[in-house]
Structures are given as structure tokens and as C-alpha cells.
């Protein structure tokens, strides 16, 4: 085949790649160097003014980033523990195994926004069933009005919604494990706990890393749960990076500045996730 023909065949894919990935990134960078807002719509050039503002004069962005890091790490950690435990449970021969496998997948199949609306009703402080039940014991926690409990509420919703995903990946991993190491462990008289620590867990490490990273990437975009459940409140106590960028871009119409925050966030996430993969690989896959 002619050398040039190769490029002709590559061209459609390349055009799509440029159109849907490269162009938006380049446009975002260009937008981030402009002062586009409601009064001055247009790609003027203001240099690094937005970046200077973001790095030197906007603690709210950084607070929302650290809050997001906390929420993402906490929810993914809990999803991993619970998801792995549930997968381990139905991996074994238990009664109604198929029923439980389907049951544990249901949350993932529901629409996040709709489920969050239902959770918001559930957490409603004067009309919600949760406080109605808790009032029997004389307590009515301010689930969505207290900065601390509002974060807990978001974690609960996120863990409920996405543990299924972790469960699915971990179950798939468990079902694909070779039987020989387990037979060898049984012959050696290993207890179930030791079997898990020395056989199951190490064998599941590559799958665990993949699952955790996939969920961390998703969790770092938490937006719908925050938007519906708390609108970032009370105050700014549940505001995440995506929500902050949404407010700046589509509420306050500071398009240039929102692009700056988006691009900066993208860079930070690429660096952070690369480091996390390295660390997880080192910790979980050590021989």
C-alpha cells in the first residue's frame, strides 16, 4: 500500500479527534485568555489576568477543589470496600445468589438526577421519612442545613448510587480468578481470612486499581448530586469544582474566567490521577 494512503485512511478518525477533543481544548485555552462576560462578549485578549486571579485571589476555587478531593476519595473508598464485600459475598455459593447480584446492580441502573430528587425528599428535614422515623428517638438531624451533615448526605447518595458499579467490576474480577491458588491455599489449611489477605486481595489488585481509577475519574466530576441535593450549600460547604465552574460560567456568565478554572482543573486532575495510579500500583501490587 502506498505510504500516503495510510494517512488518507487515518484522516476521518483524525478529523473526529480534532473536532471533539483537540478543538474544544484549544478553544477553552483561548477563551481562558479572554475577559468574555455578560457585558463584553467576545474573544478579547487579556493575557494571564484570569490565571493570576485564580491562583492569587480566589480561595473559593481552591476550597471547592479540596472539598471535591475529600468527597471523591471518601466516596470511592467506601464504594470500594462495600462493593468488594458485596461481590465477595455473592461470589460464593449462597442462597438467592442471582437475586442478590441483580439487586445490588439496581442503583446503578437508575437515573442519578431522579434518584437525587428522591434522596432530597428522603432527607427533607420537616417532611422527609428519615427524620419522621428518627423523631421516634427524639432526634431530627439537619441533614441538608448543617455544613457537616450536608457533606455526609452527599456521600451517602454517591455511595448508594455508585457502589453497584464497583460491585460489578469486582464481581467480574472475582469470577475471572484462577482456581489453583485457592485450591493450594485450602490444601495448606489457610483460614478464610488468610485466603482473602494472601490470595484473593493480591490477585484482585490490578482490577481494584482499574476500578478505583475509573470511579475516581467519575467522582471528580460530581455535579448532579450537589446541584440537586444542596445547590452547593449551606453556604459553600458542598460546592465542588464542577459546581463552582458552572456558577462562574453559566450563572454569572464569566465565560473567560470559567474557562480558566476548567483548564486549570483539567491539568490538576491529569497530574493528580497520574500520581494516584502510580501510588496505588506501588501499594496494591507490591509482591
Amino acid at each position: 500500500m502506498n505510504f500516503k494512503h495510510k494517512y488518507v485512511f487515518l484522516l476521518p478518525g483524525l478529523i473526529v479527534l480534532i473536532g471533539i477533543l483537540i478543538f474544544p481544548i484549544i478553544f477553552t485555552v483561548r477563551l481562558s485568555l479572554s475577559g468574555w462576560n455578560s457585558f463584553n462578549p467576545g474573544l478579547d485578549f487579556i493575557g494571564l489576568k484570569n490565571y493570576i486571579r485564580l491562583f492569587t485571589d480566589d480561595p473559593r476555587f481552591w476550597q471547592s477543589f479540596f472539598r471535591l478531593s475529600f468527597l471523591a476519595i471518601t466516596t470511592v473508598f467506601l464504594q470500594y470496600i462495600i462493593g468488594f464485600a458485596l461481590a465477595h459475598m455473592v461470589w460464593k455459593d449462597i442462597k438467592f445468589k442471582r437475586f442478590f447480584r441483580v439487586l445490588f446492580l439496581i442503583p446503578m441502573m437508575t437515573t442519578p438526577v431522579i434518584m437525587t430528587v428522591i434522596w432530597r425528599t428522603f432527607f427533607h428535614e420537616s417532611l422527609g421519612p428519615l427524620n419522621d422515623f428518627l423523631s421516634i428517638f427524639g432526634v431530627q438531624p439537619p441533614w441538608l442545613s448543617s455544613p457537616g451533615l450536608a457533606k455526609v448526605s452527599i456521600i451517602v447518595v454517591e455511595v448508594w448510587q455508585w457502589t453497584s458499579f464497583m460491585f460489578l467490576l469486582m464481581l467480574a474480577g472475582l469470577l475471572s480468578l484462577p482456581k489453583e491458588p485457592f485450591l493450594a491455599a485450602a490444601v495448606d489449611g489457610a483460614s478464610p481470612f488468610k485466603k482473602f489477605i494472601y490470595v484473593t486481595f493480591p490477585l484482585m489488585a490490578p482490577i481494584s486499581i482499574g476500578a478505583i481509577i475509573i470511579r475516581l475519574i467519575e467522582a471528580s466530576k460530581i455535579m448532579d448530586t450537589v446541584f440537586v441535593l444542596t445547590s452547593g450549600g449551606p453556604g459553600t460547604s458542598t460546592e465542588t469544582s464542577s459546581f463552582f465552574i458552572f456558577i462562574k460560567g453559566l450563572r454569572e456568565f464569566q465565560m473567560g474566567y470559567a474557562a480558566t478554572a476548567s483548564f486549570t482543573y483539567l491539568i490538576i486532575m491529569i497530574i493528580s490521577l497520574t500520581i494516584i495510579v502510580k501510588v496505588l500500583t506501588k501499594v496494591l501490587m507490591r509482591e
Binding site: S38, F39, S126, G235, S237, R251, E252
Partner: protein, 508 residues
């Protein structure tokens, strides 16, 4: 001469007769206006039925149902039946109305022929909206002159008047005017139970009537329902609480900024005092009240859950509807005032009573300049606000359509829909007194309005959540406002703000 008089009298009788016939006909066909029937005019049901917009499609972006979204959809359906046009209505949450129009506007597109928003968007939107044609302006006989001015910029009307809004106090008359409650309150607190005239009294009474079943319905009741949810019009609630402490007639030249220097006034002691009161209010709102948006506030007060509320008419009208558990048990009064007011000229408090009404103006609607259906769009808006629709709409609290026509300020309009005459009178008196006040505050209508209000909402929400003290929160808002002024241009903001200041200083 006699013959002429006779002919003209006969013609008048026939004309009136034909109008009545139309009223009956249209009232039967459209139950929404059954009480009044059609009311003749350029945009009446009869007039619209003579238009043929078959094959034309009108697109509208409006608020979520029910507030403003429900009447938009209802009148769209009626308009379709009358004219043959197809009307596509999109419902959008309040916080996104601005951007949903601005994104296509700035891209030079008009996906919506009609865009609903708030009156204070006018400065940012006006360059993308079509002016209201003179023939429509000319037929707005009943719209008050001040409301026409609000819908206009530099003498050109861009926003079609469909709603007029003010913030005022709503209270439970069956409690405040109840001698038993008055005696109990006196015995327990040593103070008189009456309609609060200061925010301190409001707070004391709301605290006292918080968390117990004071109306004997088996449910707990609370002190106050307020819009405290960030990004859901909470800035308007804060301004309502601030005017008493920070609007001083003896220091003209700006409430939000010093017009001369464009120095933001948002963190002066008057605003800080108001925010301190508001932080206290977190203790006497219903559980979860810190997350109440406008809809929650309407349902809470309108459903009989609280003693007080203050904001737009909707909660009051909802409470007065026949299906309300507290129909004819509510009262309206001016926003509370304060026993002191900040004098920024002297840099000190003045120890005297001060009260200032806050006009919030509310919903506004315009036709996109690039719309290809401007004729249909203006006819729709004219139909939306016609006499029959308007009278029916203002009596339904959840619709969010509030008085702005001179006729609306007459008690008869309200007694006809079942209000007790004393309540109707106090309601129209409250509204009318606000019109007469010379110490009014109007909302910001400057470039970047959304940024200013969003910054304020963020700061005050942090104070309500206990993240910052009132002073720290407003200092943060001040810094953000300075930064917005820098970005948008202080002169650009000043030019626009000067118009509002002139109105506040009674120069327009």
C-alpha cells in the same frame, strides 16, 4: 341632534351587548376566565380569535412550573386554540433563565422567540431584545406609568409588562390579632403582640412562635419562612432586610454604591446589622428553612406553617386562595423598619425610626431581536396580559403574576374573588403606600447584575451557614464587588446605576 344621540346610544348598547355576548362565549370555552368572561381590547380572546397564525411556531423559554411557568403554558395553549399557531414552551429553573437566553444571544442566535427572566436583566438583555412596538405600548392604558418606565430603558420599552412585584410583610392575622395570644405573649415576654414594625420585633415574635402548635392543627408551626437558598433569589430577601438599616433619605446618591465614587456600600454597618438579624433568623425558620427557595417559601407560609413571611405577593395570594388552610387569616403590611439607620455621610448611626419599601419588580419578558416571529410573539404577550387573563392570574398565588395595573390596587378586585374586605383593603393599602413612599429602594439594573447578586448570595449564604461572621461575609462581598466593577468598568456600571438612583432619590 336628538336623532344622533339616539343612534349613538343605540350603538353603544349594541356594542356593550356584543361584548357581553363575547364574554359569555369565551368564558364558557375557557374556564380560566369564567369569572370575568372576555374583556374587550386589542388582545382579547375575541381579537385573537380573528388572527390566523396557522403554520407558525412560537418558541418560549419560561420559568419552571408553577411560578410563571404555569400561566405561560396555560396561555400558550389558549393562544394555540385561538390563532392556530403552535407554541412550544420550555421550562427552566430560575437560576438558569439568564444563561439560557444569554448563551444563544451572544452567539447571535434566537432559539426562543420569547424569553422570560427578571426585570433586572434588562441592562444585559436589552441589546438582544426587540423593542415593544408602539401599538402595543399605546394599548397599555391600565399599566401604571412607573411600571412602564421600569420595563423601558432610555425611553424604549424592551420588557412586556406581565408582572409587578414588591416585597412586603405577610403575617398570620388569626395569631397577631388574637386577644388570647396577645395576652399570652404579654405575660411571657412583657411585650405587645402586634404587627411588627421593626426587624427586631419581627425576630422576637418569630422566635416566640417557633416550634410549637400555636394554631391547634396538630402540627408544629414556626416563626418565619424566608428565601435563604443560595442562587434562588436570596439576594432579594437580604435587600428587603437591609433597606431598614441602610437606606437613608438624608444621604441620597446610592444604596448599593456611592454613585459619585462607585464605592460599594454593601459592607457598611447598616448591611452588617441586617445580616446579623438574618443569621439569627436561621433559628426561627422551619427545619430545612435555610434551603428554602421561593417555591418553598410560598408553600410554607401559604400552607400555614409559619407566622411571618416577607417577599413577593405569591405567598400571600396562595394563603388567601379558597383551598388554603389559612384563607382570610392573613394580613399584609409594610416591611418592618428599624430603630436606627446608618448615615454614611456622617459615618454613624442615626437613632430614629426608618422604614423603606423594596421594589423587586420581578418577572419580565421580552421578544428576541432576531426572532422571525415577532408579530406572533408580541400578540402572545399582549394576550397573556389581557384584562381577562390578568384578572384571573393575579388571584392564583402559585402563578406568580402580581399587581401592576392601576385596577389591581382597588379592593373590589380582591373581594370579588372571596377575600374579606378588611384584608383586601389592607393589601391594596400596603401596595399603594409603597408607591407613595419617598424612601424606596429599587433593585440593581446594571451591567453584570448577575455577578453582583451572585457574589452577595454567596457571601450571605456563608454567613447563614456559619462559615463566616456577618462582617467577614460582607467584607468578602465588598471585595468581590470591587473586582466586578474593575472587570465590567465602574463607569459602565455608574451610567446604568444612575437611572435607578434618580428613581430612589425621587428625581424621576
Amino acid at each position: 341632534m336628538k336623532l344622533k344621540t339616539l343612534i349613538s346610544a343605540l350603538a353603544s348598547v349594541l356594542l356593550i351587548g356584543s361584548q357581553v355576548a363575547h364574554a359569555d362565549k369565551w368564558g364558557d370555552q375557557f374556564p380560566h376566565i369564567a369569572a370575568t368572561g372576555d374583556i374587550p381590547g386589542m388582545c382579547s380572546y375575541e381579537s385573537m380569535s380573528q388572527k390566523d397564525y396557522s403554520g407558525r411556531t412560537l418558541t418560549i423559554n419560561t420559568h419552571a412550573i408553577p411560578v410563571m411557568g404555569e400561566p405561560t403554558a396555560l396561555h400558550a395553549e389558549q393562544f394555540e386554540k385561538l390563532t392556530g399557531a403552535k407554541v412550544e414552551v420550555t421550562h427552566t429553573p430560575a437560576g438558569d433563565l439568564y444563561s439560557k437566553a444569554m448563551v444563544p444571544f451572544q452567539a447571535g442566535q434566537a432559539p426562543y422567540d420569547i424569553v422570560f427572566g427578571f426585570s433586572n436583566f434588562i441592562n444585559d438583555w436589552k441589546r438582544y431584545l426587540a423593542p415593544v412596538p408602539q401599538e402595543y405600548v399605546d394599548q397599555m392604558d391600565g399599566v401604571s406609568a412607573s411600571h412602564k418606565a421600569i420595563a423601558s430603558w432610555d425611553g424604549v420599552m424592551y420588557q412586556y409588562p406581565v408582572d409587578g412585584d414588591r416585597h412586603y410583610l405577610k403575617y398570620r392575622k388569626d395569631v397577631i390579632d388574637n386577644p388570647e395570644m396577645q395576652a399570652k405573649y404579654k405575660a411571657d415576654t412583657g411585650k405587645e403582640l402586634k404587627v411588627p414594625t421593626t426587624w427586631k420585633e419581627y425576630g422576637e415574635m418569630a422566635s416566640y412562635f417557633n416550634g410549637w402548635d400555636w394554631d391547634g392543627d396538630g402540627e408544629l408551626e414556626y416563626g418565619s419562612a424566608e428565601v435563604m437558598k443560595k442562587d434562588d433569589l436570596m439576594y432579594a430577601a437580604f435587600y428587603s432586610r437591609s433597606v431598614a438599616y441602610a437606606k437613608n433619605e438624608s444621604t441620597p446618591g446610592g444604596f448599593f454604591f456611592d454613585l459619585e465614587t462607585m464605592e460599594p456600600l454593601i459592607n457598611n454597618p447598616g448591611f452588617v446589622e441586617a445580616l446579623t438579624d438574618w443569621v439569627d433568623a436561621v433559628n426561627y425558620v422551619p427545619p430545612g428553612g435555610i434551603n428554602f427557595g421561593l417555591g418553598d417559601e410560598i408553600n410554607s407560609f401559604g400552607g400555614g406553617q409559619t407566622l411571618f413571611s416577607f417577599s413577593w405577593d405569591d405567598a400571600f395570594v396562595a394563603a388567601m386562595q379558597p383551598d388554603s388552610p389559612i384563607a382570610n387569616q392573613v394580613g399584609a403590611a409594610q416591611l418592618p423598619g428599624a430603630e436606627k439607620v446608618w448615615n454614611r455621610g456622617m459615618g454613624a448611626w442615626e437613632a430614629r425610626y426608618n422604614q423603606a419599601p423594596f421594589f423587586v419588580w420581578g418577572w419580565a419578558v421580552g421578544v428576541a431581536g432576531k426572532s422571525e416571529n415577532k408579530d406572533v410573539a408580541f400578540d402572545y404577550l399582549c394576550f397573556f396580559a389581557n384584562g381577562a387573563n390578568h384578572q384571573a392570574d393575579i388571584g392564583i398565588g402559585r402563578f406568580g403574576v402580581n399587581p401592576f395595573m392601576e385596577e389591581d390596587f382597588k379592593a373590589d378586585v380582591w373581594t370579588q374573588i372571596g377575600w374579606d374586605s378588611d384584608i383586601a383593603q389592607s393589601y391594596v393599602d400596603t401596595l399603594a403606600d409603597m408607591e407613595k413612599s419617598t424612601n424606596r429602594v429599587f433593585p440593581l439594573r446594571v451591567p453584570g447584575t448577575f455577578e453582583f447578586n451572585s457574589a452577595l448570595a454567596t457571601g450571605t449564604a456563608k454567613a447563614l451557614a456559619g462559615q463566616l461572621s456577618p462582617q467577614e461575609a460582607l467584607d468578602e462581598v465588598y471585595a468581590e464587588w470591587v473586582s466586578i466593577l474593575d472587570r465590567v468598568g465602574a463607569d459602565n456600571v455608574r451610567d446604568a446605576y444612575a437611572v435607578g438612583v434618580k428613581m430612589e432619590d425621587n428625581e424621576l
